[in-house]
Symmetry: C2
Subunit: 314 residues, 2 copies
């Protein structure tokens, strides 16, 4: 039995996870950032005990605790070197958590890497090369090579959303221009939808947005499925941005499996079919075994499960 | 003592290499493609003996032979699954070479991977993450992770030149649009130079091209250094394409070292200084240890040395 902690800017979520990647029990508390890391870790520790005991276990049943945290992590020491969201610099996260659980094996991973590792383990954890792409507020990624999280030499590898898809394109929040994230994130889709509605106020898509009181990641998809041709254009263009990034990742990594997760992945085959077609047509290595493209299977649980599985691997 | 074979579409080059990555002797023959792989391998074997003997050694002194070949390679069996340049499908290259040298350890690698491995070993072979980018006729790459060539699950990983730098941009020879290669290769630089000369026939750059009877990868660089402002624009734009791809690779891999090779790398710091500046400014992971950017050190010898070193690793 393992505990997985998904530390976010908004919530701290903790789950009790078995060796088969199944969450038996979970609970969460608000992160209430900014506050000291000691207070946040105290909440983590309390949640760990609560979740374990509410499932009928004791801490003696727990073989390890894994934490997925925003920011770059020095995995050997479990230190968060730099975490923008929580304004953390050189926070000794593993050391602090260890104080609450002496002798307990503790693993700390970057949150995107932990989620990718969860998705990897959910595919069976057998392949030597695996890439996870998450289309959310941003575009995140995780790379699993030789069954291990690939972190780069400074713990910050896998920023797949920040390769350039359009040289000198839209400014990205990271300071660079034209990042994949600026075109393929849900944030970008909402902007693309908004721009299309502004130019075409008499469309079904515009009515959906008005009825909902806002534009979200589903507005264009829903309207397109209902036959709105302007919405269809938005969706086609958006998917082409995703697909062009996916084929780029395939050409670089040739992973055995690439999964696409995040809110938009709920669109399932409606999203995946054109991506598959694009990759099939434009991947560099034709005539060879091809990367299997899948929708991520764990949704919001990937963070907790991946963190717990990182503790297993520890 | 090892033998490294660099098999190209034009020449077969063989070098006798010591364990310190030094070529003691080398020789080459024309590939004379297309012809049967048996004939090509026979020439390889003859070159191996010639080079060894001309250096005063015998085949008994050779501890292994490595081959860098175009195409995708199944490294376990040493089979070239598909090699476009030589029109090879499922060629049992290691097996055929073994017939000439029974009992000899033989390694077969993709040529770009072999060259990257050579550059890696030339940096000392100590880092866990290393990326080589080659700016030549195309843009090639090689990825060394955990001290091993990263090949992907089908032997075709590392096509760094074929990530998309400009969505829906220039058509690439690979069939996709907007590949990095279409902007950052020497071929692309020549086209960019040509276009600028056509629009600005009264420039120093145009005169250089006329005097040389052709435009090459140096035309714009030479004219820019001599004060031609149009040439300077071409060079600045070209370097910005390279730099934007390099920062993309840094964000994805966070390699400890990234080297840039190929003909253009002869420009040295004139090329590297603006690339360093761009990466420093736009890399995602600010405040962390940064990737060291270097000019590749082996030039045309990388293929032979890398192939030989692959035999050492075997």
């Amino acid at each position: 039995m393992y505990l997985g902690i998904d530390l976010g800017g908004t919530n701290i979520a903790v789950g009790l996870v078995d060796a088969q990647c199944k969450i038996l029990k979970q609970n969460s508390r608000p992160t209430n950032a900014p506050r000291s890391y000691q207070e946040i870790v105290k909440d983590m520790a309390e949640l760990c005990r609560e979740v374990t005991e509410s499932a009928g276990y004791t801490m003696a049943d727990i073989k390890g605790i894994g934490v997925g945290t925003p920011g770059s992590v020095e995995s050997k020491t479990g230190t968060v070197v730099y975490g923008n969201n929580l304004d953390w610099y050189n926070v000794p996260l593993a050391e602090e958590l260890q104080k609450h659980f002496p002798g307990m094996p503790i693993a700390v991973e970057n949150d995107a890497n932990a989620a990718a590792y969860g998705e990897y383990m959910a595919t069976g954890g057998n392949t030597d090369s695996f890439v996870a792409v998450t289309l959310g507020t941003g575009v995140g990624g995780g790379i699993i090579l030789n069954k291990k999280i690939f972190r780069g030499f400074n713990g910050a590898a896998g920023e797949l959303g920040h390769f350039t898809l359009i040289h000198n394109g839209e400014p990205c929040t990271c300071g660079k221009k034209g990042c994949w994230e600026s075109y393929a994130s849900v944030t970008a889709l909402i902007q693309q939808t908004q721009a299309a509605i502004a130019e075409n106020p008499d469309t079904l898509m515009a009515r959906y947005a008005q009825e909902n009181g806002k534009i979200n990641g589903r507005t264009a998809f829903d309207a397109a499925k209902a036959g709105d041709s302007v919405a269809q254009k938005v969706v086609d263009q958006y998917i082409s941005y995703i697909a062009d990034g996916v084929v780029s990742m395939v050409n670089i990594f040739e992973p055995e499996i690439l999964v696409i997760g995040g809110g938009i992945s709920a669109e399932g085959e409606y999203l995946m079919a054109p991506i598959r077609k694009h990759v099939e047509e434009f991947a560099y290595s034709k005539g060879l075994p091809q990367t299997e493209l899948r929708i991520a299977s764990l949704a919001n649980d990937a963070g907790i499960i991946g963190a717990a599985m990182a503790a297993v691997a520890e």
